[in-house]
Symmetry: C2
């Protein structure tokens, strides 16, 4: 089973958009890379804009799967220590970071954020808000379980997650230039440790 033309258009556009932005990439470039004529692209996508929409909604659906369902939370939190829970989430996030297509989607999101209201919505709601709300619930539960110090759960969520976003931005830029990312990865580890020290009891 080989990759469909539509998928090849999708991944080629993903790659090109992430490097030069939507306006910086022409239909001719995309189709040349895919190996079809310009006119053939319109058998698969209504127009150029529809390719971007497709990419953004794909990211949206894909990212939604990364957070564990709230129902399963109590179970997970009971079974594991705070430290191992944080480390597991952190491993998960890192895996997402290392995925090449994930990096490209993130880049497109950043680059198109002021041109596309959908991009802004995804950043604000799906990335920021959803993640913070999830973590807020996690920390609330951990406080109720007396597993961590009784600090403001929302602030804990912010203090934990927001540095990660900036580190991810840094990571992405370095990766783009093929530079060494070991320091950023080290800082990410250190951040999780630092945060754990802040919240732990005693």
């Amino acid at each position: 089973m080989t990759i469909s033309t539509k998928d090849r258009i999708f991944y080629t556009s993903l790659d090109l958009f992430s490097q030069r932005g939507f306006s910086g990439v022409s239909i001719r470039e995309i189709t040349r890379e895919v190996g079809i004529k310009e006119s053939s692209l319109y058998n698969h996508y209504r127009n150029k804009e529809a390719i971007l929409e497709d990419i953004l909604t794909f990211f949206r659906n894909d990212f939604a799967k990364t957070l564990p369902p709230i129902d399963a939370l109590d179970d997970i939190l009971q079974k594991s220590t705070v430290e191992s829970f944080l480390k597991a989430g952190h491993r998960n996030f890192k895996k997402y970071m290392e995925d090449e297509n994930g990096q490209k989607m993130w880049r497109i999101l950043q680059v198109e954020q002021y041109r596309s209201s959908l991009a802004r919505e995804i950043i604000l709601n799906d990335l920021f808000k959803t993640t913070i709300q999830f973590l807020e619930i996690v920390f609330s539960k951990l406080i109720a379980m007396k597993k961590i110090r009784p600090l403001n759960p929302k602030m804990l969520a912010i203090e934990y997650q927001y540095p990660v976003f900036t580190l991810l931005t840094e990571y992405n830029i370095l990766k783009f230039d093929g530079k060494d990312t070991s320091e950023v990865e080290f800082l990410l580890d250190q951040h999780v440790l630092f945060f754990f020290e802040t919240i732990r009891i005693g």
Copy 2:
């Protein structure tokens, strides 16, 4: 004294690039807005790319002025409490955030980061690295003065500054859509407080 044509080109481009990106804005759009013919623009700028370069270097020089010189640091740190020092820096940063042109420069920087190696360099060196190095020195000095707990200065810098960058990103997107930013501003205040609690002695 009225604004020169070159400056009008500069600020018009700043405005348009920040909304639609470099590739999304044409010379004709810029000159139409400025009120001159396309050809006249080339009396002031070598080509389109030179306008972007000009904007980016302007930001670079402008941002360099925001951090106080290291020589003056000991004096400042002696005279003020840790809390008031943090709050002053925070006020300073906020003022920068609220400046309309500052917002536009920041947006261009984000939007062009993968198209322009200069943009990447500015983000990585001038924004991230310089700020962290400055704060690292600050925290080192504060630790030596026994004004804060003896934690890793670099990690303190990261923990303090990196959430601010993400909050700034959020702030900028909200501002772009004319939405309410009071929650983000509140979170910024809370972050400074939270951080102060983490580092203070006793």
